[in-house]
């Protein structure tokens, strides 16, 4: 059953490559997105056993579900978008499906080796997507992405080898449940080296500072629907790799050591991203740095553990949905103003009211103000920090969040409300004076879930998340 989630998008991708007929490929795109989401829901209804390579554990399925839902929304959006960029649609859609297949494989991998293969495959499938616009800038971003992530992931492979060696003769292979049940037999020296290599390797892919250099480039140069997937789903997949490694480390009694390293990377990412956010000229880059910030919060929450860990998982869901939402809306603005420069965008509320409304909503949601889910999850993480009594950490966390809020507000408010709207040089005809449904309905659907979670987090969800966290991150 778990394999179906990988094979279905892979086959759809293959067909998109072979058929090449634009209309058929667009229909395939829609069908594939819906089918994948239906299959994911089906897994929740009737869970099945896995085998030695794939399994369906709650954590993997959680991340898979977020990915699948995002992909469906991106599908609705892209169909509208690609109608106006027809010339490259079959290649793009093929790569999108391969990307989805690779991300699904990350979610269901039961073997650390297979997880590695899947994470590297996500890099390869998404590199052509970043090169969508075929210009100097996107080429540069693609090259950085390919090289930095491949080198990072090669370190993670070495981490896997050390992990396997740390287990000694008692454990054959890298089957995750085996590793976890035998965790107390690991040689701590090799296990520590393995964890650091895995953290640096997957951390590169996740965008933790100081290995984040590829991220702002790739996220800003990719077409918006791809940026949404990169930021909303791909970063989670890399995070899953780190969490799996942390789960094993924790059971072998190195929880405190590993947690402190995670906190260190988290704080560095949070602070560095907040500082970079103070001065931004490009609105897509701005949200790319905001992704680094939120990945930092995730690492911090997991590292502190307890309530903060549960909060981090809730934060993961909220961040994915809101960030994907923001990149889609950024795509609308880009289509309207034909620029990514913050200075050249103004008076949006008068020209494209729906987009402007969504943009402001997105700002409040991502900056973590009520009534959105990110506020709740950041609040839970703060409570977890207070429980652990790390006062310095609390101060840094609050200051960084404040800086992020202030700098985002400084850019987004004028973009939306300034009266002096610059002249629009060459708006795309299809967009001028009207905002078709595909531009605002999928983002609205994406935003609705964090809004609901901001008003009321179902206790069943919180219990589920805290149960998941207690397996991988302890109590």
């Amino acid at each position: 059953m778990a394999w179906i989630l990988v094979i279905v998008p892979f086959l759809f991708g293959l067909f998109s490559f072979i058929l090449r007929n634009r209309r058929i490929v667009l229909i395939l795109f829609l069908l594939g997105g819906i089918l994948h989401f239906v299959l994911t829901i089906w897994i929740w209804i009737s869970p099945t056993e896995g085998n030695s390579l794939v399994f369906l554990d709650p954590l993997g399925v959680l991340i898979l579900t977020v990915t699948s839902f995002l992909f469906l929304m991106v599908t609705f959006y892209s169909i509208g978008y690609l109608k106006h960029h027809m010339e490259r649609s079959s290649l793009t859609i093929g790569c999108m499906f391969f990307f989805l297949a690779a991300m699904s494989l990350v979610g269901v991998s039961a073997d650390m080796g297979l997880l590695w293969v899947a994470v590297e495959a996500t890099t390869l499938a998404s590199a052509p997507l970043i090169y969508f616009h075929k210009d100097h800038r996107s080429l540069e971003a693609t090259w950085k992405y390919l090289l930095i992530c491949s080198v990072g992931i090669a370190l993670a492979l070495m981490g896997n080898i050390f992990l396997s060696y740390a287990g000694g003769d008692s454990i054959a292979g890298l089957y995750i449940p085996d590793l976890m049940s035998n965790a107390n037999r690991f040689d701590p020296r090799w296990l520590k080296v393995a964890f650091i290599l895995l953290l640096v390797g997957y951390g590169t892919k996740m965008g933790l500072a100081p290995m984040h250099f590829w991220l702002p480039d790739a996220h800003s140069e990719a077409p918006s629907m791809v940026s949404a997937l990169l930021s909303g789903s791909l970063l989670n997949c890399a995070f899953l790799g780190i969490l799996r490694a942390y789960g094993i480390l924790r059971l072998s009694g190195l929880e405190e050591w590993g947690g402190n390293i995670l906190v260190l990377f988290g704080v560095v990412s949070l602070v560095l991203a907040a500082l970079f956010l103070i001065r931004q000229t490009d609105f897509k880059r701005m949200f790319a740095y905001s992704s680094v910030e939120h990945m930092g919060i995730l690492a911090l929450g997991i590292g502190v553990g307890g309530l903060a860990g549960t909060g981090a998982l809730l934060h993961l869901i909220n961040h994915s949905l809101i960030k994907a939402f923001l990149f889609l809306v950024a795509g609308n603005i880009l289509a309207f103003y034909q620029t990514k420069k913050i200075d050249s965008v103004g008076g949006m509320i008068y020209k494209a009211p729906k987009t402007a409304f969504l943009w402001v909503v997105g700002f409040f949601a991502i900056a973590g103000s009520p009534p959105f889910g990110l506020f709740v999850s950041e609040w839970i993480i703060l409570k977890g920090l207070i429980n652990s009594e790390r006062w310095m950490l609390i101060i840094v966390y609050l200051i960084a969040l404040f800086i992020v809020f202030a700098s985002l507000a400084r850019y987004i408010i004028p973009m939306t409300f300034s009266r002096s709207a610059p002249n629009i040089e060459k708006p795309e005809r299809w967009f001028f004076n009207k905002e078709p449904l595909w531009m605002w309905v999928p983002p609205l659907l994406l935003a609705s879930i964090p809004l609901i979670m901001g008003l009321y987090v179902p206790p069943i969800l919180l219990n589920f998340l805290s149960a998941v966290f207690s397996v991988w991150g302890g109590v």
Binding site: V117, T123, T142, D217, S220
Partner: protein, 215 residues
């Protein structure tokens, strides 16, 4: 017999790394990384001769074909398309690179000897050289400008990681092993395409001039 072969392998890995460091000619680098791929490909067979299995032979064959034949061919093609056969003015010149290489080698010795007690018995030089190869690959990536040389550095690093896996007797499931190789292959293939586009768009493949994107 087995021992002599193993020593030969150790010497070849060392020499190929040194050659990679002190040459600026890209065809020479490609040949060196290809030879390294061959030798590292047969390493699992040499080390685990007593546990001989059919899948081991199969993996060896596939590895040698990919690392020793297909990947060098891809690199050669990228080199010809880009029309670049020399790494001109790298950040670090050949002589200094060699000195740094010596330092990296001693570093690998030092790290490995501190882990010696927990290494498999009778194995010392292979992990040392595997680590040296990884360091060497990383150094090539950061010290050279041409995109193609950076890909060669990436491959060198992969070779080192593979040698580590072989020397520590890691049994991955067959499918995973195959997946790793496939990923490396497709990775180099896509990098080759990227080099082709960089060359066409910029008329050079110097990655230090890829610097439009900042903050």
């Amino acid at each position: 017999m087995e021992h002599t072969l193993l020593n030969l392998v150790i010497v070849i890995i060392l020499l190929s790394n040194i050659r990679l460091l002190n040459t600026s000619r890209i065809p020479v680098m490609i040949v060196s990384v290809a030879i390294q791929g061959w030798v590292i490909g047969i390493l699992p067979l040499l080390l685990h001769w007593e546990r001989f299995q059919f899948t081991l032979l199969l993996i060896t064959l596939i590895t040698v074909t990919i690392k020793g034949v297909f990947l060098p061919r891809l690199l050669n093609r990228s080199m010809q398309q880009a029309g670049v056969i020399r790494e001109v003015e790298p950040f670090v010149g050949p002589t200094l690179s060699l000195l740094i290489g010596l330092f990296l080698l001693s570093l690998s010795f030092w790290i490995t000897s501190s882990l010696r007690s927990s290494l498999p018995e009778g194995l010392f030089f292979i992990p040392v050289l595997a680590l040296f190869t990884v360091f060497n690959g990383l150094f090539l990536i950061v010290s050279r400008k041409k995109a193609i040389t950076q890909v060669i550095g990436y491959l060198t690093m992969e070779n080192g990681v593979y040698a580590f896996g072989a020397s520590l007797a890691i049994d991955h499931p067959f499918l995973v092993e195959l997946g790793v190789l496939l990923d490396v292959w497709v990775g180099v293939f896509i990098m080759g395409i990227a080099i082709y586009h960089i060359n066409r768009e910029f008329d050079h493949i110097d990655t230090d001039k890829l610097s439009t994107l900042k903050h």
